[in-house]
Symmetry: C2
Subunit: 209 residues, 2 copies
């Protein structure tokens, strides 16, 4: 007997978001933040993500305005750059991931840092006013924060900082949260990752559920 299941994409989204809104603790979010948090929880499959999601300095409105004005999106991994839904972008925004740039391996060696950090070094030409989406490597976020300690470094419009894992992830996100370098969204602690980061960008890019 064939399996019977919901085959209507929009109905699956509606039902998923309805379950999330019933089960997750979303009361503390502003309206525009709540939409982003719901999609992040959806990507994680985990209503328990809610208390770890933090927004500051009107990051949703400011990242959305940047995208509407054509800002590029700078990603630390191809799982992120490939996951962003092009059709949701308001200005056919450029999506940039420099991790596989041919200069990265040598640059990483020179810097004595990871390839992910070296790839962020290559963001400088696009960094001014950009939306940053870091969902994989704590070293990418730490290196960006160190770059931004130089007042001459171009400033991004906002930072979605959700690297995941056991070494440096929690610390790099706390450093971003405390840094005041740009409006930001983080997932506090070990959780995060490319899917959650993509979900945040897709939700910021277009209010449509």
């Amino acid at each position: 007997m064939p399996h019977v299941y919901e085959t209507d994409g929009p109905a699956i989204y509606r039902e998923s978001f309805s379950i999330i809104r019933r089960e997750a603790a979303l009361e503390r979010f502003a309206v525009d933040e709540e939409q982003i948090a719901v999609r992040m929880i959806h990507a994680a499959g985990m209503v328990e993500l809610a208390p770890h999601i933090l927004f500051r300095d009107d990051v949703v409105a400011r990242a959305r305005a940047a995208l509407e004005q054509g800002a590029p999106i700078l990603c630390d991994a191809r799982m992120i750059s490939e996951g962003i839904t092009r059709a949701r972008l308001p200005a056919d925004n450029r999506i940039i991931c420099t991790l596989w740039d041919e200069r990265v391996p040598e640059l990483a060696q020179e810097m004595g840092n990871t390839r992910s950090a070296a790839a962020v070094e290559l963001w400088r030409p696009w960094l001014d006013g950009a939306v940053v989406a870091i969902g994989n490597a704590p070293t990418a976020l730490f290196h960006l924060l160190n770059m931004l300690e130089d007042p001459q470094c171009p400033r991004p419009a906002s930072i979605i900082g959700c690297p995941v894992g056991f070494v440096g992830a929690a610390e790099s996100k706390e450093a971003l949260w405390d840094s005041n370098v740009a409006p930001c969204c983080i997932v506090r602690g070990r959780l995060g990752g490319s899917a959650v980061t993509v979900a945040a960008i897709n939700a910021i890019a277009d209010r449509k559920e």
Copy 2:
């Protein structure tokens, strides 16, 4: 003051895996399964994933053997096909994601199903002996299971079935687990996703930590 953090990639991996092995309940896994589970937990940033990871019918050895013999990897989303580390593959294996094939939108409409399910319909030419990696859409997994109810349908060598979410994800994985169609690995319940699926494939492809 610049942030000071671990900048040595291999040291970050070692320390991460060491934390996971200290904190996660891994005792019930066979040795080769444990390595896969550790990477899946690493990708999720969550030792609490451990009890939800299930393996059956020697899936690790059989998927690895298939890859060594050149099997293609069939993925339900580009976040998965792009996340797999090419350098870890034993036979320069082909990685196939049909989700953005131009035939998919019309086929989905004909089938009365999602684009993800229609994309799986297009896997038929490569399905025989393939390694399947589903980490996003429950409808992709359900449709594959329905295709495999036809004894004429070519059989994959193994299925990594980790779709994530609130509608159909848990049910589609239970259906796979109960189906006996191929050796499989699942993440029981709502959890799963592209990063966890990629981690399983990367760990199966190469024992190297």
